[in-house]
Amino acid sequence: MKDILDFTEMDPKEIIARRVSLEIRPKSLVNLGIGIPTLVSDHLDESMGVFFQSENGVVGLGHRPPEGMTDRHLTDAGGTTVSAVPGASIIDSAFSFGLIRGGHLDLTVLGGLQVDARGHLANWMIPGEFVPGMGGAMDLVTGARKVIVAMMHTAKGRSKIVPACDLPVTSQRRVDLIVTELGVMQPRDDGLHLLETGPGVTVEQVQAATTAELIVTGTVPEMDLSRTI
């Protein structure tokens, strides 16, 4: 775990990763998407006994292997060579998505192109521009017990948290939590609640950067990133 004193100076992506890491329970099974979500595992202590799963069939992903020890037979879902922790196991792709869709995955953390006030995530295509494909994202959002979207609050100056997605959505399931460098938001029946603000960020600054309407109840605390898990 990293030791940081002034969180307002922290890299925005690290703020997100660190805040997300506080949501992870001991001994749970977690799938981290590529990009910012991958950074989350850096903030966890191995003693927690969390197992990280990747779509390609590893239960128990580890960090990079020692220098000179990488092998192409062992990669994460991004195709990056990784190691495996003691107690890791290998499953085929049908089994891997069986875990995901069958409710065995406690948490998935995914990046997003957009999330809207209803909690719908869009992260698999930009019509007419770029079509990466959904990969495992549709199954992850539909099947995981808890879904957290971890992403930068804006892209090219535009809010990624919108009243209603105009990009094709990934699932009809409402995500559970949205974590950006500006705040922590939760979509509920009555709309999108702002639960925490980012380090040194005001409620007004979050709303100004967000096209979706944020519901604020009482005083909104700042993320407590000094908390250890």
């Binding site: 390609n56 069939g57 085929d92 049908a94 495992g136 539909t142």
Partner: protein, 217 residues
């Protein structure tokens, strides 16, 4: 025909226009020698059923670059610019399938089930025009089996009767696709005597493997 065949015999066997299932995840667990030989042979109009488009030089990449592929059925194409280009110019048709649905559709074909009932994709663009089925009060998307003329797979170890074992994340789609091709051709990294792979470690029984790429002598 022989279990052990040469790479040339394998390439010969696959006609233009064939539906070909290819294993691997981002090129890991893909039979690379077979892919390169097929690409070099100039096959045309293949339908490739493969999880992802990998990158231009890995996985199905060489076949796309050599313009052997008319249709791609898989879940992810974001890291292969060739696919994006050929899709835009209209020479490559792409059918995107969520990965969990993709592997279950392949499995359904392989194990004789009529289709897949999944919650994945409901309420999204990929559900458009598809049948839904209600079971015990819940709605599921009905997705048909996905079968191929050929399944090209990669194994870590093969024994003399074609039993296969895989290694780490190179396992991925291999054991499932081995069930779903009319002709199954495996490219192993090593070939060992019967008994070297213990019965409990065999992931694909040799009896369902039609051909194995032989070693260069």
């Amino acid at each position: 025909m022989q279990l052990a065949i040469s790479i040339e015999e394998a390439v010969e066997m696959i006609p233009d226009g064939a539906r070909v299932m290819l294993s691997g995840f981002m090129g890991v667990g893909t039979p690379d020698t077979l892919v390169r030989a097929l690409a070099a042979s100039g096959k045309k109009d293949l339908t490739m059923i493969v999880n992802d488009a990998a990158r231009p030089h890995t996985g199905v990449g060489p076949l796309v670059r050599a313009r052997c592929v008319r249709k791609f059925i898989g879940s992810h194409i974001g890291l292969n610019p060739d696919v994006q280009d050929q899709m835009r110019e209209g020479s490559l048709e792409v059918e995107l399938v969520p990965q969990g649905t993709f592997v279950e559709r392949v499995r359904a074909a392989g194990v004789g089930l009529g289709g897949v009932l999944t919650p994945t994709g409901l309420g999204t663009r990929i559900a458009e025009g598809k049948q839904t089925v209600e079971v015990e009060g819940r709605t599921y998307l009905l997705e048909p089996p996905l079968r191929a003329d050929f399944a090209l797979i990669a194994a870590r170890t093969c024994d003399y009767v074609g039993n296969l074992s895989y290694m780490l994340s190179a396992t991925n789609f291999n054991p499932i696709m081995a069930l779903a091709g009319d002709v199954v051709i495996a490219e192993p990294e090593e070939i060992v005597p019967v008994g070297v792979i213990p019965p409990d470690a065999v992931k694909t029984p040799g009896i369902i493997v039609d051909h194995v790429i032989k070693r260069a002598s």
